[in-house]
Amino acid sequence: MSEDKSPFRAGCLSVSVTDQALRMIERIVWAEGYVDVADYVRNLIRKDFRERGLRFPTGGWRDEGRADLVEVEVKVPSRRHRERRVFAHRRKAGGKMYESPQFVLSPEFNRFIGRKYVVYEGKARITVRTDAGAPLVDEGEAVILIFREKADDGKE
């Protein structure tokens, strides 16, 4: 179990199988578009947990708004995954200059204007599954905005 200062805490599961079995697993991984052998095994655990009625722990939210790992599968290919830059928003207050990150989205997100959200920070892995070809996997640091469904979001 890793005990470093990283917000991502992980455990390692090792398994020993015959060479022949690994070759069969690799064939399944290739044929079904898994990212790698570990992805296939994680999926088996996920399936087993579902059968046992256990909630699949995707990392779980931790204190201070940090998440261990958020895994999301997107079924429809997104056309919005081009890279964008985070701008610096600077303002003066009380004779001091303050700076904050500023994310600017395109007008297709206008429905979120005026709504309330909570922010979490962590690592995320987004798998975009498509009908053809291998799935696209985006992985990295993430800032997650949750627009709670039940909360009164104050939208006017």
């Binding site: 079995a21 690994l22 069969m24 088996l44 087993d48 699949f56 990392g59």
Partner: protein, 71 residues
């Protein structure tokens, strides 16, 4: 991460490979609980059982472990 171990017993080479799966800590603890509740020998035993069941569903007849007579 993978490692290979080859043992040759008589005329039958037996090869096993080991791979490691990294999972979030909470996930790891949940797996440990399942292993302890269901009486699996260890984490590896649990994972092999999952793979064995998946192979069975797919109709694959590949051995996952070295059997006693092979060792």
């Amino acid at each position: 991460m993978m490692g290979k171990n080859e043992k040759t017993e008589g005329r039958f080479p037996v090869r096993t490979v080991c791979f490691t799966v990294t999972v979030p800590e909470q996930f790891y603890r949940e797996v440990q609980r399942v292993v302890s509740d269901d009486g699996y020998a260890d984490l590896s035993d649990y994972l092999r059982d999952l793979i064995r069941r998946d192979f069975k569903e797919r109709g694959v007849t590949v051995k996952l472990e070295r059997e006693l007579e092979e060792i």
